[in-house]
Symmetry: C2
DNA sequence: AAAACTTTGTCTATCGAGTAAACTAAGTCT
DNA sequence: AGACTTAGTTTACTCGATAGACAAAGTTTT
C-alpha cells in the first residue's frame, strides 16, 4: 500500500520544509521562510509555532530592519536533543556524542581486539554508555544512535556480511536497540561517511554526491538527489569490487582486478610481494601493462608509517602512492562517467597520503573522464577527516528523528 | 523554491495513484482500488468520476459478484490518446505511433543518409508527419512525441554531444516542438530503452533496473526506484566508457580500456586488426592478459553477417562472441556490485548474437558478482527487441502527459 | 419466494489543512 | 508628526479526504 495524500501528509511535508529551511539557511524571519518556500505567511507562522513548542526552533531575537518592523529571527535549536554516532572499524571503535547540528559534545574510542560479535557488542556498549550518561538535559534527550559498519547491511538493518570482521548475519541494530532503548540506524561505513560529508563536510548543498572511502578496501556511498542510494536490497556501493583490470589479480571476492586491489591499502601488499599466484598467465605474446610487475621494496605496510617515509622523500613509497593515485583516478572516472555526480569526495584512512596521491588522481580524472561529465565536476578530499563516518552515523540518527517527506512531480 | 503541500497536491497525488493502480492492475472495481491504495471509497469514487470524464478510464461492465452487488469494473483507456516514439539511430530512424498503453498502431522507418542536423530533422519530420495524420480521433489526440538519440542530452533537452552523429549542441526537441506543436520529450537512446523495457518489456514491476544497450557502443539506462536516474546534469549512464582494462586500448574518448571497446560492436574491429597503436607498451616483463593479442580472422564486421557465420558454426566468430560475452559480463558485474539492481536487461543491436554471447556472459556474472548482489539478481535480454527505444520514447511522452507525483517519507 | 445477508458504490456532515486579504504591531524615512 | 514599510497574526473561506450512514444490487438461507 502506497503513501497516499491527505492533510496530515501536507502538514508533515510543509513542516519538514519549514524546519529544513530554518536548519539550513537560518537565522531567518517568518517572512523570509515564507518567501523562500512559497508557503503562505500564515502557514509558516502556524508551523513555526509548533516547532517552537517542540523546541526544535528558537527565536533568537530581533534582526535588522529593512525599512519597517524588525524581524524576529528563527534558528534551528541544535540543543533540543543529542545523537550518538559510532564507527565500527576493524581495529577501533570510534564514537561521538553530538547535538542535532552535528556539533561534537564528546568523543571517545576503544580498540577492538577480538572480532566476534559478542566482544564487539560489549566494546560498543562500554563506549556508548558514558556518552549516554554525559548527554546534557534536552527536550528530546538522546534521539538515536547511528552506527557505520565495515560491511553490507540489508534493508532491515541486519549486517549480512562483513568480511573484515568475519561476520555474517549479525543483528547489531536489534541488540543495540534493546540494550539502550533508543532508535538505532545502521549502515555501511561508506554510506555513513557519505552522509557525514554531505551534511557537514565537503558535500554540503550537493545533490548528487559520491563518497569514496579508501582504507583496507574501497566502498562508496552514493547520494542521489540528496538521499542515500541503497539499491534494490541495500547493497549498493560495493565499488571496491569493480574490476578495472579484467584479468588482473585474483581478489578474495572471487573476481579479478578489483579496484581495491590497486587503489586501497590492500595495494601495499601487492607492490611488496607481487606474487603471481592470482594472475592469469598469457597464452600469447605482447604485454601492455604499466603495473609494477616486479616487486617494489616498501619499507612498511601501514599507512601511518608509509606516509612518514613519503614525507622523507622515500622514492619507492612515492612511486607507489603515485600509482595508487592513478588507480584511484581510474576507478573514480568510471564512477563519474556512469553516475554523473556533481561532486566526488574521497575519504578514509588512505587519505592520510592525500598529498602524494592527489596529483596523479586528479590528472587521470582530467585526462580520462568524459568532457561534459568532468566540466562541472568537483573532486575533493574529505573535510571531516577520520570523523566522516562517526558524524554521518550521528546524522543518520538525527535525520530519522526529524523525519523527512519528499515530493517529486 | 521547493514543492510545497496543499490540497491541490494531495488531489494530484491521489488521482495519479488511482490512475496508476487501474493502469497497472486493472480491471478493478472502485472498492478494489480503495483497498489496494488505502484511499477511502468516497475518494476513489470522486477521483474515478473525474478520470471517467477525462476519458482516461472507462467502465467495462459488471464483474463477477463475490456474494453481493456486482462490481463495475474500471479499465485504463489506452485509446484516450496516442503518442509517437522515435529512435534516431546512426543509419536509421525508426518511429511508431502507439496508444497510451504502448500498443503499436503504426510503425515506420527511414534510412538516415547524411548526419547533419538539418537532414536528420527533415527525415524525422517526413517520418512523423504520416504518423500524426494516421492518428485516430481520440479525446486527447497525440499527447506527445518521445525521441531517443545516440548521445548525451542535458536537463533542458539539448543534445550536447552525439559522437556517432557528429553533433554538438543541437536543439532537436525545440525544433520538433515548434514544427508539430506537441510536447516533445528527448532522451538518450539507452534511457529510452530502459523506460521501454521497464514499462512494457523485461523489466515490468521492477523498481531498480539497469538496461545495458550494446550496439556500436554501450550505454546504460538506470532506473532507480521506478524513475530514470539522470545524474547531476543528465549525463548519467555513459558506462560504455567505464574502463575495464586500466591500460588497455586507447578509446576515442581519450580514456583507455573502455568497456565498449571489448563488449560492443566496436570490438569487431579490434579482434580483426588488433593494431597496437593504442596500447601502452610494458616497461617490464610478465604479461597477464587473456585478450586476443593476435588478430582473429573475422569474415565480416557487421552483426547481421557475423551472426550468420556464427549460426554456421564459424569457429573464430564463435570464439569472438564468447569473448564479447565474457567482457559484457565483466562490465555488468561492475554495475551489479555498484548499483545492486534487481534486474539487468541487455538490449541493443548486439543482442542479435544473444545465443553465442549469453553463456559466457552469465557464467562471468555468476563467477564474479558479489554473492549477495547476485543472489536475487535477474539478468535477461530485451523483450522488446529492436523496439525498446521506440516504445520507451513513446512511453516517456505518455508518462509526461499523465503526470506523476511521488512522495517518499 | 421472502428474508437475511453481503458487497458495491454514493451521499452527507465534518475536519483540518493552506490561502488571501484584512489587520495589528512595530519599525523607518522625510 | 505623519507617511510609508515591513513583520507577523487574525479572519473568513476553499477544498480535499474521511467516516459512517445509506442506497443499490446482488447472493444465500430459510
Amino acid at each position: 500500500m502506497r503513501v497516499t495524500g491527505d492533510q496530515a501528509l501536507v502538514k508533515k511535508l510543509n513542516k519538514s520544509i519549514v524546519l529544513d529551511t530554518i536548519r539550513r539557511k537560518g537565522p531567518l524571519s517568518r517572512t523570509d521562510v515564507s518567501e523562500r518556500t512559497g508557503l503562505n505567511k500564515a502557514t509558516v507562522s502556524n508551523l513555526t509555532f509548533e516547532l517552537l513548542e517542540q523546541k526544535l526552533v528558537e527565536e533568537t531575537g530581533l534582526g535588522v530592519s529593512s525599512g519597517g518592523r524588525k524581524p524576529l529571527m528563527l534558528l534551528f535549536n541544535g540543543g533540543a536533543g543529542c545523537a550518538i554516532g559510532i564507527e565500527l572499524g576493524v581495529t577501533l571503535v570510534k564514537a561521538a556524542l553530538t547535538d542535532l547540528k552535528g556539533g561534537i559534545l564528546l568523543e571517545t574510542s576503544a580498540p577492538l581486539g577480538k572480532h566476534n560479535p559478542d566482544t564487539a557488542f560489549a566494546v560498543i556498549c562500554e563506549i556508548v554508555r558514558p556518552l549516554l550518561e554525559a548527554a546534557p538535559e534536552a527536550p528530546h534527550g538522546v534521539v538515536g544512535i547511528g552506527i557505520g559498519v565495515p560491511g553490507m547491511v540489508d534493508e532491515s538493518g541486519l549486517i549480512l556480511y562483513a568480511p573484515n570482521l568475519g561476520w555474517e548475519g549479525v543483528d547489531l541494530k536489534g541488540r543495540l536497540e534493546s540494550e539502550f532503548g533508543v532508535p538505532v540506524v545502521i549502515d555501511n561505513e561508506a554510506n555513513a561517511g557519505a552522509a557525514g560529508e554531505r551534511e557537514y563536510g565537503a558535500g554540503r548543498h550537493v545533490r548528487h554526491l559520491v563518497y569514496v572511502s579508501a582504507g583496507m578496501g574501497i566502498g562508496s556511498g552514493m547520494i542521489i538527489d540528496g538521499q542515500l542510494y541503497k539499491g534494490a536490497w541495500g547493497y549498493a556501493g560495493e565499488t571496491g569490487h569493480m574490476s578495472i583490470e579484467s584479468d588482473g589479480r585474483l581478489c578474495s571476492c572471487g573476481s579479478r582486478g578489483c579496484w581495491e586491489l590497486y587503489a586501497s591499502e590492500r595495494a601495499y601488499a601487492y607492490f611488496e610481494s607481487q606474487e603471481e599466484e592470482g594472475q592469469i598467465s598469457t597464452q600469447e605474446s605482447g604485454s601492455r601493462s604499466t603495473e609494477f610487475d616486479k616487486p617494489i621494496d616498501l619499507p612498511s605496510l601501514t599507512t601511518p608509517e608509509l606516509t612518514e617515509y613519503a614525507r622523507q622523500g622515500h622514492d619507492n613509497t612515492l612511486r607507489m602512492y603515485e600509482e595508487i593515485g592513478r588507480r584511484l583516478g581510474i576507478g573514480i572516472t568510471n564512477l563519474v562517467n556512469g553516475f554523473n555526480p556533481e561532486k566526488i569526495v574521497v575519504g578514509g584512512p588512505l587519505t592520510e597520503a592525500k598529498e602524494w596521491i592527489e596529483p596523479a588522481m586528479l590528472a587521470v580524472i582530467a585526462e580520462r573522464a568524459l568532457p561534459y561529465h568532468r566540466r562541472e565536476l568537483a573532486v575533493s578530499f574529505s573535510e571531516l577527516g577520520s570523523r566522516s563516518a562517526v558524524l554521518g552515523a550521528a546524522h543518520l540518527a538525527v535525520s530519522q528523528f526529524l523525519g523527512r517527506v519528499r515530493v517529486s512531480l
